[in-house]
Each structure stands twice: as structure tokens, then as C-alpha cells.
């Protein structure tokens, strides 16, 4: 950004540490009066070099590393990585493992959306909403904890299956939580719809049209809030999503209000998916029979090849491109995180708005800088 200032102009650096941010990045704003006339982003404050680390670790160690791309959605990251390796090994997990994965990934989606909604409300000054959302999220995290033994970084998925089975009484404990959650989501929605201040801060703020969103390359709730029904679970079904009944939630307004509304509706859909899964989950083994890849995966060599595998992250399209050269380590892994293009689309979106709306627009993207930097 050019440093020379015209009269009435000033430059504000939001970040690298700022309460509005989901992680450290620097947002440079050039203001004229209170209007943003230019903006750019500097990344790299939390760069971990995960792509390079993965090249120097075996596949099994890689599962632990990909957890750290974004701790909020660790299970989805694992699904993407493990899915790539399974495609290269040409194995497929048995039905029961697939259902367990779907259950855990939908729980992940619910808790990520709850935090996203809570944080967004906090950014625009609705702090008690954050507490309500976190309270519900904690219950969901306890369910994940019950199965995987960890709240955020799980290392739970294995090639061809999952580490351990669902504990006894999981269904009995989950159903009341889901029932309570449904009620709370209705409460949240009612609050959002009736609170005048909240509506004034969000309705018509940060409007993104469908064509602009496509041009900017965003995905996930930000795109679906503009009316484009793009969801990898429908477009390119993986695991057992083909057999499950759910709909892709869309809104048409494309503003901050619509983005939050899409997340609320998606939580409802996830609850519906979970109820189906808990009813339908079959008995059976966790790993495919007659393969080496079980709970104790040996040091394994993966056949040479390359694969691009996409899954639906709570924030949008998560993809990994993996190249194997036949050794026990990946030759190259490219991680395509969903928040990276969304963050890139932030400067064009905030140019022309006022400073007060920057926090609202940035918060409604529900980001994770850790994943953008990797």
C-alpha cells in the first residue's frame, strides 16, 4: 500500500493481534474519513510449513500433523488426508467406519458453526450470544471427546477405518444433546430475527452477489448465502452422504445476516443427518478384511500416483492434492484450505464500507488464519 497520504486520509493496521480476528494476520486499511478506500492483507504470522513437514514424515505421522492445520475442524482435515491415501492404496473403509466418520464430521461441523456464530455475534458487540453458543458447543465437544479421547486434535482416523468403535451408550447420550441443541438453535434464530440492533448491524452489510462470489472463488456458507447450492457432499459425494437425506441450505441476500442464517440452518441439517446415522449405523468390522492396514498400521509404502480429493469443510471446499513416488512418505501434499480464497476476497468486500462494518464482515466469514497460513 502506498504510504503517501492525501488530506483527510489515514492508514490503520488492524492486527496482527486484534480481537476481531480469528488468528493473526494484518489488515491494512486506508481510510478517508470513516470510509475504507483501500485494503490489503499480510499473511504469514502463523505459518507452520505443514506442506514441507508432511514431505518429511511417514503417512501415519501425517495424520497427526494435518490435525494442526486448523484445530477446529481437525476431523475434516484428517478425512481429507486419509481419503487421499485410501484412494492411492485403493482400499475402502467398511460401512460402520464410514458411518462413524460421518457422525464425527457432522458433530465437528456443528461445533465449528456454533463457534462461528458466537464469535461473529461477539465481534459486533453481542457478547452474551458468545456465551450461549459456547455453552452448546461444549456439549458437542464432550460427545467428540467421548469417542476420540480429545477435544480438538484427535488423530482418530486411520487408513481404511477409525481407531476405535463408538463407546457404549453413545446414542443414548447424543440424542438428548441434539434435542436440546435444536431448541437452542430456534432460540438463537428468534434472537437474531427480533433484535433490532443486531439486524441493523448485519442486514445489507457486506453484500456479495452470486456472480461476484463465483468470480472471487469463495465456497462454503459464504457462497451458499448468495444462493449458489454448491456443496461437495452433494456435488461429489464421499463416505455415505449419497445414502443420507439432507438438503443444501441457501439464502439469497448474500449479506452478513444471510451467512449466519445459513450456518444456523446447516446445524439443523447436521442434526438431521446425525439422527439418520444413529438409526442406520450397521454392525461390522472397523477395518477392511484381508488388508494390512488396521489399527496397527505398519510402515507402509504407498503405490506411486497422484490424487486430488475434496471434502466439505464447515467453511467450504477442502481439497488435498497428493503425489506419491512409491516410498513411505508423500512426495508432495498441497493443501487447499477453504478459508484461503475467502480471506483473499475480504479486501474487495470491505472497500467502500465504514470501519465499523469491517469487524462485522470479517467475522461473518468465520475464518481460521491458521489454515490460511498452514
Amino acid at each position: 500500500m502506498e504510504e503517501r497520504l492525501e488530506p483527510n486520509e489515514m492508514i490503520i493496521h488492524l492486527g496482527p493481534q486484534h480481537p476481531m480476528q480469528p488468528g493473526p494476520f494484518r489488515l491494512n486499511l486506508r481510510l478517508k474519513g470513516e470510509t475504507v478506500i483501500d485494503a490489503d492483507i499480510e499473511l504469514g504470522y502463523i505459518h507452520k510449513g505443514i506442506e514441507k513437514i508432511l514431505e518429511n514424515r511417514t503417512y501415519l505421522q501425517g495424520i497427526t500433523i494435518v490435525d494442526r492445520i486448523c484445530y477446529l475442524v481437525a476431523l475434516v482435515n484428517e478425512e481429507c488426508f486419509v481419503g487421499c491415501v485410501e484412494k492411492l492404496l485403493d482400499i475402502e473403509p467398511p460401512e460402520r467406519s464410514k458411518y462413524i466418520r460421518v457422525i464425527l464430521e457432522e458433530l465437528t461441523r456443528i461445533q465449528s458453526h456454533l463457534l462461528g456464530i458466537g464469535e461473529f455475534a461477539e465481534f459486533i458487540g453481542f457478547v452474551s450470544m458468545f456465551m450461549y453458543a459456547i455453552r452448546e458447543r461444549e456439549e458437542v465437544l464432550s460427545l467428540i471427546d467421548m469417542v476420540t479421547g480429545a477435544r480438538v486434535t484427535h488423530s482418530y482416523l486411520k487408513f481404511g477405518g477409525v481407531r476405535n468403535d463408538l463407546p457404549d451408550g453413545f446414542k443414548e447420550k447424543t440424542l438428548p444433546v441434539l434435542k436440546g441443541l435444536k431448541k437452542e438453535i430456534d432460540n438463537f434464530e428468534q434472537m437474531f430475527h427480533t433484535d433490532r440492533i443486531y439486524r441493523e448491524r448485519t442486514v445489507g452489510v457486506g453484500v456479495l452477489t452470486a456472480d461476484a462470489a463465483k468470480d472471487l472463488g469463495v465456497s462454503g456458507p459464504v457462497l451458499r448465502a448468495t444462493g449458489v447450492p454448491f456443496d461437495i457432499r452433494k456435488n461429489e459425494p464421499y463416505l455415505v452422504y449419497e445414502d443420507l437425506d439432507f438438503k443444501v441450505c441457501t439464502e439469497t441476500a448474500g449479506d452478513c445476516f444471510a451467512r449466519v442464517q445459513v450456518r444456523l440452518n446447516e446445524i439443523r441439517e447436521s442434526i438431521y443427518i446425525l439422527e439418520q446415522c444413529l438409526d442406520q449405523i450397521p454392525d461390522g468390522p472397523l477395518f477392511p478384511e484381508n488388508t494390512l492396514y488396521g489399527r496397527r498400521t505398519p510402515v507402509m509404502r504407498v503405490p506411486a500416483g497422484e490424487v486430488f480429493y475434496r471434502v466439505e469443510d464447515p467453511r467450504g471446499e477442502m481439497g488435498m492434492y497428493m503425489v506419491s513416488d512409491g516410498s513411505d512418505r508423500p512426495y508432495r501434499v498441497k493443501i487447499r484450505g477453504p478459508y484461503y480464497p475467502t480471506l483473499q476476497a475480504l479486501p474487495p468486500l470491505i472497500i467502500g464500507t465504514t470501519v465499523a462494518d469491517v469487524a462485522a464482515i470479517s467475522g461473518s466469514m468465520d475464518g481460521c488464519t491458521s489454515e490460511a497460513d498452514r
Binding site: K214, V228, F308, R332, K334, R336, Y340, P341, Q344
Partner: protein
Amino acid sequence: MDVTEIFNSLTGTFPEAISEAAVESKIRARAYVDKEKVKEVCQYLKDSLQFDHLCVVCGVDYIKRNEFEVVYHIASYNHPVVLMLKAILPRENPEIESIVSVYWNANWYERETYELYGIVFKNHPNLKPLILPEEMLGEWPLRKDYEGFPNKTARNLV
């Protein structure tokens, strides 16, 4: 629009620029593209074949062949096919045309590929490091002959 239709249209329009094209499955296709023609091919994909969503641009270092590959994954909001386009560059002075004017979100992917591999994207609007500090420009850390990992980073800290 299904994958064979896309495949035929692409190979028919660019018989020279596209080579080793193959259909892998119902939702995946791949092809090598001439490095001079990348932008034209991308423009055609976007305008005529509904490939309006760029998933990712990345580099791969094939040190044994003394080559870089720039890999484009291009998808669509309307149909489920993902096309993998690859361009081969020499390891000395790797240069390729930027596709930012076609796909806006290629901007950061190309900057990242530049700082990690040293692949120069010609006509890029703002080719400077994105996630690495300025001092690391010229190290090209994701090349396979980069020796700094992990010792160099540790030495710098001490």
C-alpha cells in the same frame, strides 16, 4: 455436461497445446498443457466449458527429471468434473504466464508458488512473497534440494 464431452471439446480445440489427455473417472480428467498456452486454455475452459471455479494452483519439484510442474485444478459450480492441468517448466529460469486475469483467486496461489519454488508468473499484478518473510526470498524452501529444513531454521533462532 459430462466428462467425455469436455474431454473431446478440449482436445478438439487445442490439438497442439494439449497432450497426454486422459479421463480418469466420471469426475476427474487430466491433461498436460503447453506452458505458452496456459492462459488461452483457461480462458476457453471458463467461457465455453463452465469451468468457473479454480480450486488450486501449486508447484511440484521433480528433481530427478530436472523439471517443475505447475498443477492447476479447475472445477465448476455447475458440474462435478475436476480437470487437472499440468505445465512442465525447466528448473533453470522457470517462467509461466499468469492466469490472474482469467481466475481472480489465482493471485495468492501464484504468489505462494513463486515464493516457495521460485517459479515466476509473468504479468502477475503483484508478485511478492505472501506467507514467507522478505528475507527468505531466494531460498525456495519447497524445492527438493533445499537443505535448510530443519537445521537452518533452528540455527537462525539460536
